[in-house]
Symmetry: C2
């Protein structure tokens, strides 16, 4: 048989143990925060009927979705995000008590061009509430971001918030045709990635000079949150949708203040639009101040109409999504990831004369909640077994020479970085567990 070249698809990755443990650590930290806010876990399938997913995200998604015919000629697609499946769940199980609060952490797939920090398979970690139109829910989302980031030991970040109703108000205020609004929002969303000149030029491709001027005035509105809110109230004095969005922002900010969120990190930013079609109210992004090149690591918003695609009547909903891979890559670069050491604690050696003694010792150590390996590398002298323990950074070895064990002697060896510098203690069977525990301290 010909050899098969072991390789991965571009944009797909293996996570070897060290990295996998660090990722698990990150996910568990955020999960604890989500749980502390009263959210419950949910899981949806990887494959969905394509019509469930299509038409919810915008044009780009159609091109990027992994879509195929299954064995029964059904048109199926791999999960593109966690929000649309969540909306499907809300529609499918009307018996769910509302407001329904869930979190989900799972991979999603997009056939995007792979580039630094961008993958075709990547994890999202979402939290959403369905059945709440309250700005309290909006502020809980922003609070969740802030608390999650802190739980990961990240101090230097901004959460930028805006509201689609404010942007819709802008469309009205600048007298822009509604059909052009998506294009305008997409341009606004890219404002930081392109030059001011290009931004203006791109606007002029779609809009008149006076319309463009109003957009420019709007996105340039900067300052502290209260100043921006005051300015918006001025602009939207006769514009009910814009005013509604402005008041929602104001309430959200007030609740965040009451929750003692550090208000220096909360920035109303009128240039935030978010690319996805389904947003209807508040939207937010999270930028790492020391690594802005990673883009937003924690994003989301309100989507009051998405569930309505499935049941005909709207159910208000709001959510936030952590880009696990992006944040992980950024934390790696910023050296913010802790060294996770929850692997094997003890290696029990094995010698040809008495392997069952090793099995017995391992069993007793495990019964005492010590993570224990038996050396499985086959017939071997002591040297290679200690080398194995060193390579895997196993902190303690129990050495089981047959002649020693026969005399009730066990050698407990503390492994240090340099071979030969190891500290070791001989003990009898009764003292073994205590000796190991002491060495592990």
């Amino acid at each position: 048989m010909d050899k098969i070249n072991p390789r991965l698809l571009q944009g797909f990755r293996d996570f070897l143990p060290e990295k996998k443990r660090q990722r698990d650590w990150m996910i568990n930290q955020v999960k604890s925060v989500y749980e502390s806010f009263g959210f419950s876990p949910l899981e949806t399938p990887v494959l969905e009927f394509s019509d469930i997913l299509l038409g919810k995200y915008g044009e780009e998604a159609k091109r990027l979705m992994y879509r195929f015919k299954d064995q029964g000629e059904r048109d199926v697609s791999m999960r593109y995000d966690l929000t649309v499946p969540f909306a499907r769940v809300i529609a499918q199980y009307p018996e769910l008590v509302k407001p329904f609060k869930r979190y989900q952490v799972a991979p999603v797939w997009r056939a995007d061009s792979p580039q630094a920090g961008r993958y075709r398979e990547f994890y999202q970690f979402d939290v959403d509430v369905a059945g709440s139109s309250s700005t309290l829910a909006d502020s809980e989302m922003v609070n969740l971001i802030s608390t999650s980031m802190q739980s990961l030991g990240i101090a230097k970040f901004n959460i930028r918030i805006n509201n689609r109703k404010v942007l819709n108000g802008l469309i009205e205020w600048a007298k822009i045709d509604k059909d052009d609004s998506t294009k305008v929002f997409q341009l606004i969303d890219k404002i930081e990635k392109i030059s001011a000149e290009d931004f203006e030029k791109s606007l002029l491709d779609i809009l008149s000079a006076s319309q463009t001027e109003k957009i420019l005035e709007f996105v340039k509105t900067k300052g502290i949150n209260s100043q921006i809110i005051a300015k918006l109230k001025e602009i939207f004095v006769d514009n009910s949708i814009g005013l509604e969005g402005t008041e929602e922002l104001e309430e959200t900010v007030n609740y965040l203040q009451a929750a003692e969120v550090d208000m220096d990190i909360i920035k109303i930013d009128l240039s935030i639009a978010r690319g996805l079609d389904y947003y209807t109210g508040i939207v937010y992004e999270t930028i790492l101040l020391d690594a802005p090149e990673f883009g937003s690591v924690f994003s989301g918003g309100r989507y009051d109409e998405l569930i309505g695609y499935f049941i005909g009547t709207n159910v208000p909903a709001v959510g936030v999504s952590l880009g696990v891979d992006r944040l992980f890559a950024a934390m790696e670069k910023l050296e913010l990831l802790p060294k996770v050491t929850d692997g094997t604690q003890v290696l029990v050696t094995v010698f040809e004369e008495n392997p069952t003694d090793s099995v017995k010792i391992a069993q007793i150590l495990r019964e005492n909640n010590i993570k224990t390996e038996i050396y499985l590398g086959g017939k071997s002298a002591l040297g290679p077994q200690l080398t194995y323990a060193n390579k895997l950074a196993v902190p303690v070895c129990v050495i089981t020479f047959a002649d020693q064990v026969a005399k009730d002697i066990y050698t407990v060896k503390k492994m240090t970085e340099k071979f030969g510098e190891n500290e070791q203690i001989e003990t009898n069977f009764d003292g073994l567990i205590d000796t190991v525990k002491k060495m592990l301290e």
Copy 2:
């Protein structure tokens, strides 16, 4: 826009919070056992190049694999099990220290006919060692099964073990053509699902009468483990491969005894073959005595040649796979699943007059590690808020009437099953946390 019918593909499932929590509990219990044996987590992608997966499992798999052309016209397939990707990893990263011990829990996909307890998307939870030909590794696998089952509170089960070398010895002993061996193994594997008559008839379709007789004599060899081993040594007195398999079984059993595994559950069973092509040594299955209809819930074996498909030289390996969905369904039926109650502990009510007070209280409770929800259902009287808490079995509510809060009075209410029978205590702000904690006890 037309409404889209919210629905799932047949054989695919959503896990709503209660079930998801129970599944997470199961996975965490088993993960703790795997970790206690010194295994580390690994993750591989859902999509692989098809040639990585094809040709490793047997004929059936080709038909059942979700396989398609991606946007770049690459021939890709969804993960069919976790073992072949593991073998690919071992081949791809020669720098991994051997023996390499990993666990992985993840969904796999097979376009099988959905039936009771059988899904097209289901979870496997695997543990494998690569780079060990030792029977110590074989016995560790069986020990892992036994310990995992105990960690789930399951007492009544059998682990049936056999060895492919013993079966290969049988082929030689019965003078059967090697090309027919796969068919014979597949028949033996199905022995419990068909009648004795049909089994014999099916054998006679492939084999001569004298060959069939030998197979029947062999699979009928029953008794305690030592008796079976004695009988095999007799049969294989001149058959080196059969003898090698027999000795491996004997060593494995001895190690299990040394590890104080309950030997009443370990049954050498010569009718166990396991369907997959890649097994080469020990194989095992786990049957629930009170729910044998679920089939094997924990299975695996040794596959010393699979990694060789990728690198040309063989790397010995052995593993075991927990059928998460199957075991979960069986535990559900046997009422062995614990009620998992790690949801919200406190609901803080919200009233129109003073929502920021609710935000403040929630924040303080969360800071004291109490899982806390703010009521997000919008403007509401107390009744619907308490009903919400009752429906979700939230044990404690903190009631924040504006006029009370103004006088530093908070009502802490213990929710019981019957509305109206609730116990409640009034406290001031300073006593709030203690009062809540006492009620939660």
